[in-house]
Symmetry: C2
Subunit: 193 residues, 2 copies
């Protein structure tokens, strides 16, 4: 999979998550995520696999068109950091594949916490050694659930799959993204998480 | 509208929100919420208006079936507080109507902050004078975006509306709920919001 060539992608090499498997189980129940969703995500991975760059074009287009979002990839003075945008893009693409194909086990949970921290003052900018603003505001992390879930539908529909299965894949994608943002909110909310 | 008969419903009577209209504007852009969504929500209000109790039956059924959610309406020892569940139900029903029909102005923003705080140690339990756990964990607030958005579709589809309009109403509902949860995360994340 060429994973080792993705700059700053440290799946399998990070500390364990403070979130337990039991807490993950309860989150799964809260978003109604079950074995059918896992299966649907595997199929979604097949459909999206060849379109990852196109999906990223849409998302990066959205970020680029919104100064309040581009700011998080920019210097504190507001100059976009191209190398930062590019390096994160590679990891974002891998995240699409991971969301569809990885088992949601301890290694996954550990990397969820890593992604969370990379959005906060704890770790933002460090992986890429860049000078940028210190954190991504939590409200935008939550808000982007909408574009990141709505925009995959067209790509899911490009496969040979019947409409009912596009629906199943799309719902599974929504559940997973919402659950991941819930996990990523942990270092923001700490004791109230 | 009989609003004054809803126990603990204080719309229009709470302090201004610390969130500015400009911040709200940027959140709207982040979830792609525009004038067509406002219009779609007005239509959704017409369709959902007569079904509010049925919608609440589904959501309360979900909460009741999940001990980790029912716990937030229970004593610290785990005994569900019936009066609490019932009083909040009235306000929850009104929230469905408000989400569809209210302008998202300063009064709305102020009540958003009030709803937020009522999920946190700041204000939970106080409105109803009950003894319950001190806060709703942020992760469940985010996770419930899924059931609260997925389950309205059947109700929206019960109107006389063509499928394309059901889609438009449903997307507007999703955007609004995600944006509201983003607003409600403020007292949880404070400086990182
Ligand atoms: C649902 C919403 C979001 C998803 C799914 C998401 C996903 C990701 C992923 C997968 C990564 C790379 C993780 C890794 O290092 O392996 C990442 C990093 C990053 N994201 Fe997000 N993100 C979201 C919201 C946002 C928002 C709203 C912003 C603000 C514009 C943002 C800015 C960033 C930045 C700046 C990084 C690099 C962090 C670093 O310095 O390592 N993200 N995001
Ligand atoms: C998208 C998710 C959620 C929505 C839309 C939502 C909506 C609401 C609304 C509209 C109210 C009444 C506000 C008022 O007082 O006027 C409320 C209160 C409440 N909600 Fe939520 N809620 C969500 C998530 C949760 C979760 C996950 C729980 C945990 C089971 C929860 C537990 C409560 C409780 C206990 C109250 C009463 C708070 C008090 O003491 O005043 N909510 N919620």
């Amino acid at each position: 999979m060429g994973e080792t060539t993705i700059a700053g992608y440290d799946y399998g090499e990070v500390k364990p998550s403070p979130v337990t498997r039991e807490e993950l189980e309860l989150l799964k129940r809260s978003v109604l995520f079950g074995p059918e969703d896992e299966a649907a995500l595997r199929r979604a991975g097949e459909v999206l696999g060849g379109q990852v760059e196109d999906v990223l074009d849409v998302w990066y287009g959205f970020v680029g068109a919104n100064p309040h979002l581009l700011a998080e990839f920019s210097t504190p003075e507001g100059e976009p950091v191209t190398a930062y945008l590019e390096r994160v893009r590679g990891r974002f693409g891998q995240w699409i594949r991971d969301t569809c194909a990885r088992p949601y086990d301890d290694a996954w949970l550990a990397y969820q916490e890593e992604i969370a921290e990379r959005h906060t003052p704890e770790k933002k900018n460090k992986t890429d050694g860049v000078t940028s603003v210190p954190y991504v505001p939590l409200r935008y992390l939550i808000a982007l659930i909408y574009p990141i879930t709505a925009t995959v539908r067209d790509f899911l529909a490009k496969g040979e799959t019947p409409a009912a299965d596009v629906d199943a894949m799309h719902e599974a994608w929504r559940k997973s993204v919402i659950m991941q943002v819930a996990l990523w909110s942990r270092p923001y909310a700490t004791a109230l998480w």
